[in-house]
Assembly symmetry: D2
Homo-oligomer: 305 residues x 4
Amino acid sequence: MERLLNKLIERNKYLTKYGKVADYIPALGNANPQDIGVCIMDIDGDIYTGGDYNKKFTIQSISKIISLMLAIMDKGEEEVFKKVGMEPTVEPFSSLYKLDLSHCEKPSNPMINSGAIVTTSLIEGKGEEKFNRLLKFMKKIILKDNLNYNKEVYLSEKETGYKNRAIAYLLKQKGLIEGNVENILDIYFKQCSIEVDCIDLAKIGIFIANKCKNPKSKEVLCDEKIASIIIPIMTTCGMYNFSGEYAINVGIPSKSGVAGGILAVVPGRYGIGVYGPALDGYGNSIVGYEILKDLSKELNLSIFK
Amino acid sequence: MERLLNKLIERNKYLTKYGKVADYIPALGNANPQDIGVCIMDIDGDIYTGGDYNKKFTIQSISKIISLMLAIMDKGEEEVFKKVGMEPTVEPFSSLYKLDLSHCEKPSNPMINSGAIVTTSLIEGKGEEKFNRLLKFMKKIILKDNLNYNKEVYLSEKETGYKNRAIAYLLKQKGLIEGNVENILDIYFKQCSIEVDCIDLAKIGIFIANKCKNPKSKEVLCDEKIASIIIPIMTTCGMYNFSGEYAINVGIPSKSGVAGGILAVVPGRYGIGVYGPALDGYGNSIVGYEILKDLSKELNLSIFK
Amino acid sequence: MERLLNKLIERNKYLTKYGKVADYIPALGNANPQDIGVCIMDIDGDIYTGGDYNKKFTIQSISKIISLMLAIMDKGEEEVFKKVGMEPTVEPFSSLYKLDLSHCEKPSNPMINSGAIVTTSLIEGKGEEKFNRLLKFMKKIILKDNLNYNKEVYLSEKETGYKNRAIAYLLKQKGLIEGNVENILDIYFKQCSIEVDCIDLAKIGIFIANKCKNPKSKEVLCDEKIASIIIPIMTTCGMYNFSGEYAINVGIPSKSGVAGGILAVVPGRYGIGVYGPALDGYGNSIVGYEILKDLSKELNLSIFK
Amino acid sequence: MERLLNKLIERNKYLTKYGKVADYIPALGNANPQDIGVCIMDIDGDIYTGGDYNKKFTIQSISKIISLMLAIMDKGEEEVFKKVGMEPTVEPFSSLYKLDLSHCEKPSNPMINSGAIVTTSLIEGKGEEKFNRLLKFMKKIILKDNLNYNKEVYLSEKETGYKNRAIAYLLKQKGLIEGNVENILDIYFKQCSIEVDCIDLAKIGIFIANKCKNPKSKEVLCDEKIASIIIPIMTTCGMYNFSGEYAINVGIPSKSGVAGGILAVVPGRYGIGVYGPALDGYGNSIVGYEILKDLSKELNLSIFK
């Protein structure tokens, strides 16, 4: 397996030059566009790695999965989906115009920024506590204690997150989030800035693939129903407005982040973490996408077959 | 199996009273809202039926799958997806406003009306020939000779299809369809009016589930690649702007039609046809949805598990 | 006065090279971009001309004023404005997306294509009769018998008017126009193709400026109330989505057409017709705009002063 | 004249019961819906009053005129209109969706909230200084020293102004405003909370009607060019998305505020201030509109005649 991973890294390495590292904040712009890492964890908890699998990067939008899970655990499925939809959208992740059209009641889904800010707001806890609970939940999933957010990235996001502020205030005006807007954004910026590596992502992936159980500890952290909600949502909405094409070409429920990470879930079989900060035009890791496409073919991972 | 089907029909029968038969044309309004039919065909070609499985109804939007397959066979994947996207959208199936916004180049996907009109236009053949080839293709898939369209429904659709005309002329203006607009619409209205029953749908379903091979004849009608395109698109876009919720609650790639049919594909296992003309607010068969939800649970059919 | 007109033509002539003749149909593309004509008619019926004042061109969007007047005469103000609004819009004249948004009930105003197609549909008469009545009404306004439409332009518009067809079918679907869509479009394409010269436009202008009376014949063709509706609508909506800037820089109620004509109305004083087929990016005559700007300053014509 | 004013107040008083006082903040909700005040100032500086002409209310959106004038004085016409358009729009004043569409570069005009926040941001001065300069400018226009903002209204607007915050952060993200967003909003909320009465509005009106000169002091506060910009903008955009209909029925360049004030300008003749806190569905004073309609007829004030 590790030979396969290294082969795929070699085969797709040339693609990094066609991508572009996110540079809307300096802290992200410093990433090395040539980094490529992969980690696969199987249902027995065995781990296979390749390339820069232990490089750290910020989780960014992949955290939307964590906050969605926690919001459902805290408030229940019904309550959460009263305030955020389940429908994929062709709009870019930071789009807000639909929320301002009169027929639109709530964000389309929890994988676009507006939807994710709603789920973050629904996590139980006052102020900082929301974030601490999210971090603690992630630590339990990953079985790892030293997990934290990158202060530099967090502060940059906080300082320049004008579009997310616009979205959050619009949500507030529509009665979709409660409490202080800046506090909710603060949690949101922190959760996006949590530092992970490919192993961490693979562990989150196998947790979901294994119906919300860590394959080693066997500890049940939440109802397996939650996995059956998360996996379809990743499939239809996880790769921004490239999700449809990704489903056809890869066929693995996945969620990407703008720092270059992709988390992929093969139900009942694997959790996969890939890293490559050079992005394509949709904001997905350019080489991460190709490696997952190849992996899907080589190991027959598509859920559509 | 047939006992199960009949049990599910009984269990969900009461729901018909909460739905509403489509009445935008008189010919559809005449359907009996209490009709319920199911047919399952497995990979060996065995057929299980229940209820009104042999009632005839018009295929409507389910035909979008057939025209997409034929367009890809005729023009190739690349050519087709230059003119129609692969991305799900939260918009209702007959929405056209996005096509008029300057950043929008093509219909989001082939399952909304605008996208389907594009795929119909891409079928080879002059005038009537397009439709004849589509009908012939369907006959080969179903292995059935007496397949035709319902003239009354076709004429009604043709007469009152103002929104589809608006869409088609907008597509023409944007250079997305070639040839005479009324002729293309004529084919489109005809293909939507083809009469089928649950068995026919199940046969189309197993054809796709079996990688584009009829399980009996084994004749390869098209490249299996086409199934791997159709199945994800059904998953992300098949149930109108309810596709995301349907994926979570049912998890079977499906396509519904406004006359009450649902075609469902369990890759490698089953093709399913369900009929129930009473519709929910999204335009999907209200009892068809619930029966498929139950079937998915009872037979563990979700692709996300 | 004629010296002034010729001076202004000379002064602004150089601008023609920055404009572009409309070329969406060949018949319009043949116009000479260097043509410039002006005609002013005062309240006593005296006429002053300059340049190519007697060149013929098609009236195009300026006809929207005529069909609006006739629709109000035929159906009354209340009935007309139930189906078309009075509000200016920042959208381009051929935009239709708003009509597809759920909160939008009718076209914003009668100067954009969707609104004008509605007013044309409201003119009394079966089929061709609508157009004959409109032509007859124009003849009475202008006191001229040989007025007709340009067949070549009409046929071109009819053949290629896909966007207008999309608009008209959307209006039909929303219940905003009655009768056969193609027939209404036929009238619309004909009215846009009526051939006029600057003198004709000036005569229409003075008719409106003089409260719906021809200053020579004194015949009252319609209620003066109609002038008080037309003039503000020209002011707020007449120059496409340049109307606001035009109000500031020129300040004369005007309506332009894509063939290069501009009709301007100085209430109680003048009717003005300008012609110059080289257009700016908004679709207004580039030199026509500048000449009217200069005229407004020289003769103090702005209604805002 | 005062007899006329009182007659019109009497005649239209019954309308107050069909309107609704703005209640999005408690401080506005306390207004007496039956209050009606009018003040007219002529070009000689003579003043005519009627009803509750000396009741105080907050200026609200009428302040958009002041900030636009000051922004042009400070930055020049070109600089200002690079960041905000001059085109009327059919959208409600607090709409923001267009700013999120890719083809939209800037707010349509300075009379909708997004445009007004831009003009406020362009006023020279650091922090509080912007507001002080605006207040000082108003004092000079009105020739009155004790002018200030209502703290309660200001604090309420500041606390609950979520939509304006969403707009401002979107403007920031698009690079249309510089500096700290909360500081700019603070100035904006303050300027909207300035307390005036009908006399104050009439004085601002006559200042504009008299080409930016107070008719008494004759002091030239700014270039008369500014009046020639403000007056058309009031005409095409001043009464929210009722501006077109208002132009037809009243024909006087006006600007309304949500507290019930309307400022009207009859170029070269009158400045008018009207007050009536009961609003119609567009957010305009219901009785203020009717009084101005009557006044326009009685005194022949329409600029379109």
